[in-house]
C-alpha cells in the first residue's frame, strides 16, 4: 500500500515537472533500460533517447485527469522502452529476433500510438517555429513559453510601446498558425 502511494506521488510529481520526482524515477529505472538497450545492439545514446521518450510518454499519461496506472512504474517504463527499441531496431533493419530479456511487460501499443501522434504534432510545431524566423520566433516564445508580459517583451525587443509589440505578436502568430496548419492538415 505504501509503495503504491509512493508511486502515485512520484507520478504526480512527474506531471508537475518536479525535478526531484523525475530524478527518483530516473534513478530507479534508467539502469535497467540502459542494460536492456546495450544488450540488444544499442549504444549509450540510444538508451538515453529511448528512456527519455518513455518518460515523456509516462508524463503525458500522468497528465490526464482520469489517469490510473494499473502496474508498477518500472513495468510500464520497461514495456514502453522495449516496444520503442524493438521498433527502432526494425526500422534500422537490425532486428535479430533475439531480444533476450523476458521480463514482465504490459500492453502499451495504444499508449504508444497516442504518444506517437503527439510526437508528430510537436514535430510539426517545432518545424513551424523554426521556419518562422526571427524576431517572430523569440517573440512568440517569450509570450507563450516564458510567459512574459507584453510590456516586458516590448522593452526586450525594442518596440516603442506594448501595443506595437502586441500587434507584431499577432502577425507572427498568424504566420505560425498558417505554417502549422498547412503541415498539420497534410499530416492528417
Amino acid at each position: 500500500m505504501k509503495a503504491e502511494q509512493n508511486e502515485q506521488a512520484l507520478l504526480k510529481g512527474l506531471a508537475n515537472n518536479d525535478s526531484k520526482a523525475i530524478e527518483t524515477i530516473y534513478k530507479d529505472n534508467f539502469n535497467m533500460v540502459q542494460a536492456f538497450v546495450l544488450n540488444n545492439n544499442g549504444s549509450y545514446d540510444d538508451a538515453r533517447d529511448i528512456f527519455q521518450e518513455a518518460m515523456i510518454a509516462l508524463y503525458e499519461k500522468a497528465q490526464s485527469e482520469s489517469f490510473v496506472l494499473t502496474c508498477q512504474i518500472k513495468t510500464y517504463v520497461y514495456s514502453i522502452c522495449r516496444r520503442l527499441w524493438l521498433k527502432k531496431l526494425q526500422q534500422m533493419g537490425r532486428f535479430s529476433n533475439q531480444i533476450d530479456n523476458l521480463d514482465e511487460t504490459v500492453p502499451v501499443e495504444e499508449d504508444l500510438e497516442i504518444h506517437e501522434k503527439r510526437n508528430a504534432e510537436f514535430a510539426i510545431m517545432d518545424r513551424a517555429m523554426k521556419s518562422l524566423g526571427e524576431p517572430c520566433k523569440s517573440l512568440l516564445e517569450g509570450y507563450y513559453v516564458k510567459k512574459m508580459g507584453m510590456q516586458e517583451l516590448a522593452e526586450e525587443f525594442g518596440y516603442t510601446n506594448a501595443d506595437n509589440a502586441k500587434n507584431q505578436k499577432y502577425k507572427c502568430l498568424m504566420r505560425l498558425k498558417k505554417l502549422f496548419f498547412s503541415q498539420y492538415n497534410i499530416g492528417e
Binding site: S19, R48, E121, F122, K177
Partner: protein
C-alpha cells in the same frame, strides 16, 4: 474587421478577459458568422497545441538536466572516461555509509576500551588505600609534639601547609631517599630520622605511574653514612618469604612483620607483591625486607576491605626507576644502590636497629 483585431478579440475571448457586454456581442457575432466561429475553434485548438508544446519542451529540458546531473554524480554511467571529480563524488557516494559505520565502530571501540581500562586498572580508589598519612593525623601529632617538646624547633618553614606524609629509606649513603610518589603531594619535604632529627629534602625525581619518588637530603646537619646495612634486591622474592617492615604510621618508628603472600599485586599487577602484614597510613614508602636484610620492595598500598592485605612495589623497580632518573638528570649519576646486604644471619633485633637509622619519616608540604 481587420484580421489582427479579430485575432486579438478571439484570444481575449478564449482567455476570458472580455467584459460581459463584449462577450455577449462576440458570441452573437460567432453565431451569425460561421467563419468566425470556425476561427475561434481553430484558435482554441492551436492554443492547446501551443500549451502542450511548451509543456513538452519543459519536460524535455528537465529530463535532460536530470540526466546530466545524474551522470555527474556518478549515478549513471555512459561509458567513456570518468573524470576525477566524478570518481571522487562516486567514491564518496559509494563509501559514505561504510565510512560512517567505520567511524562509529571506531568510536564505540574507543569507548569500550577506555571503559575496560578504567574498570580493570589496578589502582582503584575505593578498594585500595594509599598508606600516606592523613593530614589531620599529622596536624594532631604536630600539636602534641609542640606541646610536649617546646624547645625543639621544627625545620618546617612557617606559612606552609603539610599536605601528606609517609615513610622513606636511604638507597644511597650520601642521602638519597626512596619513597612513594603518592606520599609527596606537596612541593617540598622534610625528613625526620628515628631520633627526631629533621633534615630538609628536595624532590629530585617522581613517577606517579610506578608510584616511586627520590628525595635528596640537602642539609648541612646530615652526616652521610659510611655504608647502608641492607642491599636492594634485583631478583624476585619467593612466596612465603618472611618479611618485615619499618615505618612511621606515628611519629615513632614502628616495626611490622609478615610474609610474602603473592607474586603479583592488586588485580594481578605485576609491578608489585602482595604481602600479609599489618600496615597503616604512614607506612607508605617504607622498606620491606626479608630475613637476610635485603630490601625486596617498597610498601605502598593496602586493600581497604581486607585485613592485613598490603602491596609493595617490587625492589627491581627501584633499580629501573633510578636508571631512568639518571637519564633525565645527570646530578643523579653518583647514586650507587647497594646490592649486597651485610646482615645475613644477624639477629632480628640487630637488623632492626641498623635499618631503623636509614628509615625516615617524610612530611611533604606546600606553600599555603
Amino acid at each position: 474587421m481587420d484580421d489582427i483585431q479579430l485575432l486579438a478579440a478571439i484570444e481575449s475571448y478564449l482567455a476570458g478577459e472580455m467584459n460581459p457586454q463584449e462577450q455577449a456581442f462576440f458570441e452573437a457575432l460567432r453565431k451569425k458568422t460561421p467563419e468566425i466561429d470556425q476561427m475561434v475553434v481553430e484558435h482554441n485548438m492551436f492554443l492547446h497545441q501551443m500549451d502542450s508544446y511548451v509543456a513538452y519542451q519543459n519536460i524535455k529540458h528537465t529530463l535532460h538536466h536530470v540526466h546530466q546531473e545524474l551522470v555527474e554524480t556518478g549515478d549513471l554511467y555512459e561509458g567513456g572516461e570518468v573524470s576525477t571529480k566524478v570518481q571522487v563524488v562516486q567514491l564518496w557516494n559509494r563509501y559514505k555509509r561504510v565510512a560512517a559505520i567505520a567511524a562509529s565502530v571506531g568510536g564505540v571501540i574507543a569507548l569500550v576500551i577506555s571503559g575496560l581500562v578504567a574498570f580493570f586498572s589496578p589502582v582503584n580508589g575505593n578498594q585500595l588505600q594509599q598508606l600516606s598519612k592523613d593530614i589531620e593525623i599529622i596536624k594532631r601529632n604536630q600539636q602534641v609534639q609542640g606541646s610536649l617538646i617546646n624547645e625543639v624547633k621544627t625545620k618546617i618553614p612557617t606559612g606552609v601547609k603539610i599536605v601528606s606524609g609517609g615513610s622513606g629509606f636511604l638507597i644511597d649513603a650520601k642521602g638519597f631517599i626512596i619513597t612513594n610518589a603518592h606520599v609527596l603531594k606537596g612541593t617540598s619535604a622534610i625528613v625526620v630520622d628515628n631520633k627526631g632529627r629533621e633534615y630538609n629534602a628536595s624532590i629530585v625525581h617522581i613517577d606517579n605511574q610506578k608510584d616511586l619518588a627520590i628525595l635528596k637530603i640537602n642539609d648541612t646537619d646530615f652526616k652521610p653514612f659510611k655504608s647502608l646495612p641492607y642491599g636492594i634486591g634485583k631478583r624476585n622474592a619467593d612466596l612465603g618469604d618472611e618479611i618485615f617492615t619499618l615505618g612511621y604510621p606515628r611519629n615513632d618508628i614502628v616495626y611490622g612483620v609478615g610474609y610474602l603472600s603473592a607474586k603479583t599485586g592488586f588485580n594481578g599487577d605485576s609491578l608489585s607483591y602482595q604481602i600479609q602484614i599489618s600496615a597503616n597510613p604512614g607506612n607508605s614508602g617504607g622498606p620491606v625486607l626479608n630475613n637476610n636484610g635485603e630490601v625486596i620492595g617498597v610498601l605502598s598500598t593496602r586493600q581497604a576491605q581486607a585485613d592485613g592485605v598490603a602491596f609493595a612495589v617490587k625492589s627491581k623497580n627501584i633499580h629501573d626507576f633510578v636508571e631512568e632518573a639518571k637519564k633525565s638528570d645527570t646530578a643523579l649519576d653518583n647514586i650507587k644502590i647497594p646490592v649486597r646486604a651485610n646482615m645475613k644471619g644477624v639477629e632480628r633485633k640487630q637488623q632492626i636497629s641498623r635499618v631503623a637509622d636509614c628509615v625516615f619519616n617524610v612530611k611533604a608540604f606546600s606553600q599555603k
